[in-house]
C-alpha cells in the first residue's frame, strides 16, 4: 500500500515537473551588471538604447553593450525613485535620430527637483541638439512618483506621464499643477491647440488627463491609450486614458496607504473613471508593451505589463476596454522594471536593481 502511494506521489511530481518546464520560450541575456536599468528603446533587433537610473544612457550596438555610456546626458537627481528614467524614439528616428528622455532634474541651488523631458539627436556616441521640452510644475522635495514614461499618439504628439510626487497626492485632483497627470505636448515643446484644458484659465494647458498616481507604463494601440499605475498598498490599475478624464486618485482608490490608513473609503464616483483592471494586493506594475510580433503567435494582441512585486510579467488579453484574460509569465528572473517588443518578435526585459540585466525572451 505504502509502495503504491509512493509511486502515485512520484508520478504526480514527475508529471508536474514535466509540464511546468513545458514552456515555449527561453531567455538570452543581452547585457548584465547594469546600474538600475529603467527604460528601453529598441532601434532594431541588435541595436538597443536603454537608460540606467543612476544617470547613464547606454547603447547595445550590433548585439554588444558599448562599455562607455553615451555622452551629453543632462545631470539627473539619482535618489529614491529618481534618476534617468523614460526613453522613447521619435517616430521618424531612422531619418532624424531624435530621442526623448524623461528624468528627475535637480533645481539649481535648491533642495527641490522635478520631472523634466528633453529631446536630443543621437550621434555616434553623444547627444546633440538637446532641447528641454517640459518641466513639471511645481517642483517637489520628494524623490518619488515621477511617472516618467512616454508614448506617441497617432497625431505625432507626445504623452508624458507625471506622477503625484507621493507627498502631493491631493494635487492630482487639481488642474493648476502637473502632479498626477498625463501631459500632452508637441515634439518641439509647444502645446497642442486641441489639448482639453487650453481654454480653461485655471488649468495648465499641457494637461491631457488627471487624477493619476504613479503612472509607470503607457502604450497607444489603435488610438487607444493604455496606462498602468502603481496604487498605494493595493490598488494598482490598468486604465484606458482619455483626454480630459479624471481617474479619481486619491478621491477614489482600491488601495490603502502604506501606514495602513484608509485614503478614501470610496472606490467609485460619477465623473471619475474606473480602471479596466486593478490589483489587490499590489503587483507594482512597471513597463508595458503591446505585442504584435510573429515569434509567439499565441501572444499576439496582448498587453504585457512588467511587475516588480514579486517580479513577473502579466500578459493581459484585452478587447478594447475589457480584460479577457491575465496570465503570469517570466516569474523566475526577479523584479522586472521594463518590457518592450523587438522587431524580430522577441520580448526584452529589464530587470531591476544595481545588478540589472537586459534579457531577451525568444522561442525555444
Amino acid at each position: 500500500m505504502i509502495k503504491k502511494i509512493g509511486l502515485f506521489i512520484f508520478g504526480i511530481a514527475f508529471a508536474y515537473s514535466f509540464f511546468a518546464n513545458d514552456r515555449t520560450y527561453k531567455y538570452e541575456v543581452i547585457a548584465e551588471d547594469l546600474s538600475h536599468p529603467w527604460g528601453v528603446a529598441v532601434i532594431n533587433r541588435d541595436n538597443i538604447l536603454f537608460t540606467e537610473l543612476s544617470g547613464q544612457l547606454r547603447l547595445i550596438e550590433n548585439g554588444v553593450l558599448k562599455p562607455e555610456p553615451i555622452k551629453g546626458v543632462p545631470e539627473v537627481l539619482f535618489a529614491g525613485q529618481g534618476g534617468l528614467s523614460g526613453i522613447i524614439l521619435d517616430p521618424s528616428f531612422e531619418e532624424n535620430r531624435k530621442i526623448y528622455l524623461a528624468f528627475s532634474s535637480p533645481d539649481s541651488g535648491q533642495k527641490t527637483n522635478t520631472l523634466e523631458v528633453i529631446s536630443a539627436k543621437l550621434s555616434s556616441n553623444s547627444l546633440d541638439e538637446i532641447t528641454s521640452l517640459f518641466k513639471a510644475s511645481p517642483s517637489r522635495r520628494t524623490a518619488a512618483h515621477y511617472g516618467a514614461r512616454m508614448a506617441f499618439l497617432d497625431d505625432g504628439t507626445l504623452l508624458i506621464t507625471s506622477g503625484d510626487g507621493f507627498n502631493y497626492r491631493e494635487q492630482a485632483q487639481y488642474l493648476d499643477n502637473h502632479f498626477g497627470k498625463i501631459i500632452r505636448i508637441n515634439t518641439d515643446g509647444t502645446i497642442p491647440s486641441d489639448n482639453p484644458f487650453v481654454s480653461n484659465n485655471d488649468a495648465l494647458p499641457e494637461i491631457w488627463s488627471y487624477g493619476h498616481r504613479n503612472l509607470q507604463g503607457i502604450v497607444v494601440v489603435d488610438g487607444i491609450v493604455y496606462e498602468n499605475e502603481h496604487g498605494p498598498m493595493g490598488g494598482d490599475e490598468l486604465n484606458i486614458a482619455q483626454a480630459s478624464k479624471n481617474y479619481g486618485w486619491p478621491a477614489i482608490t482600491y488601495g490603502k496607504d502604506y501606514s495602513g490608513a484608509t485614503i478614501s473609503p470610496f472606490t467609485k464616483k460619477d465623473g471619475m473613471e474606473q480602471p479596466i483592471k486593478y490589483w489587490v494586493p499590489s503587483i507594482a506594475p512597471s513597463g508595458m508593451t503591446f505585442y504584435e510580433g510573429k515569434m509567439f503567435p499565441e501572444w499576439r494582441g496582448s498587453l504585457f505589463i512588467s511587475a516588480l512585486v514579486p517580479g513577473d510579467v502579466r500578459r493581459i488579453e484585452v478587447d478594447k476596454d475589457k480584460v479577457k484574460k491575465e496570465e503570469i509569465l517570466f516569474d523566475d528572473v526577479g523584479r522586472i522594471r521594463d518590457i518592450v517588443s523587438s522587431p524580430d518578435g522577441s520580448l526584452i526585459l529589464a530587470t531591476d536593481g544595481p545588478n540589472g540585466k537586459l534579457i531577451r525572451v525568444v522561442n525555444k
Partner: protein
C-alpha cells in the same frame, strides 16, 4: 511600578488613537473639500478600520513607533527631572509632544522625504499631532503626580 507601566501603556494607546484620529480627519476633510459624500458613518467606520489597519497591517505598526518614541522621551524626562524643578505633568507633557514631533520629522528622513503619516505633511498637521503627544504626556505626568499625593 506595575501601575506606572499600565499608565505608560495607556498614554501610548491614547497617543496612538489620537494620531489615527488626526490621520482619519485629514483624509476625510480633504475628501469633503472635493465633494465626496463623506457621512458620519463613513468617518466612524474609517476611524475604527484605521485603528486596526495602522497597527496590524501597515508597513510599520504605529503603536510600536509611538511606544519607542515615548519610552525614549519619558526616560529622558525622568533623568532631567532629577535636576529640574518642574511639575511632572509639564515635563512629561513636553516629552510626549517632542516624541510625536520627532516621529513626524524623523520618519521622512528614512524614506527620501516621504511622509508615511499623511496627516503629518502640513504644518497644521504636525502641530495637531504634537498637541496630541502633549495631551498623552500630560496624562502620564498627571498619573505620576496623583500617586505622589
Amino acid at each position: 511600578m506595575t501601575i506606572n507601566i499600565v499608565n505608560l501603556i495607556v498614554s501610548i494607546l491614547i497617543a496612538t488613537c489620537l494620531v489615527i484620529l488626526q490621520e482619519t480627519m485629514s483624509n476625510m476633510f480633504w475628501l469633503i473639500s472635493v465633494d465626496m459624500p463623506v457621512s458620519i458613518s463613513n468617518f466612524i467606520s474609517t476611524y475604527f478600520a484605521n485603528i486596526l489597519a495602522m497597527n496590524f497591517s501597515g508597513a510599520i505598526p504605529l503603536v510600536a513607533l509611538v511606544a519607542v518614541a515615548f519610552l525614549i522621551a519619558f526616560l529622558v524626562a525622568k533623568i532631567l527631572l532629577n535636576w529640574l524643578d518642574v511639575p511632572k505633568t509639564y515635563a512629561y507633557g513636553v516629552a510626549g509632544a517632542l516624541a510625536i514631533l520627532s516621529l513626524v520629522l524623523l520618519m521622512p528622513l528614512a524614506f527620501y522625504n516621504l511622509d508615511i503619516l499623511a496627516g503629518g505633511r502640513s504644518v497644521l498637521g504636525k502641530s495637531i499631532l504634537t498637541a496630541f503627544g502633549l495631551i498623552s504626556g500630560i496624562y502620564f505626568g498627571r498619573t505620576l503626580e496623583k500617586r505622589i499625593i
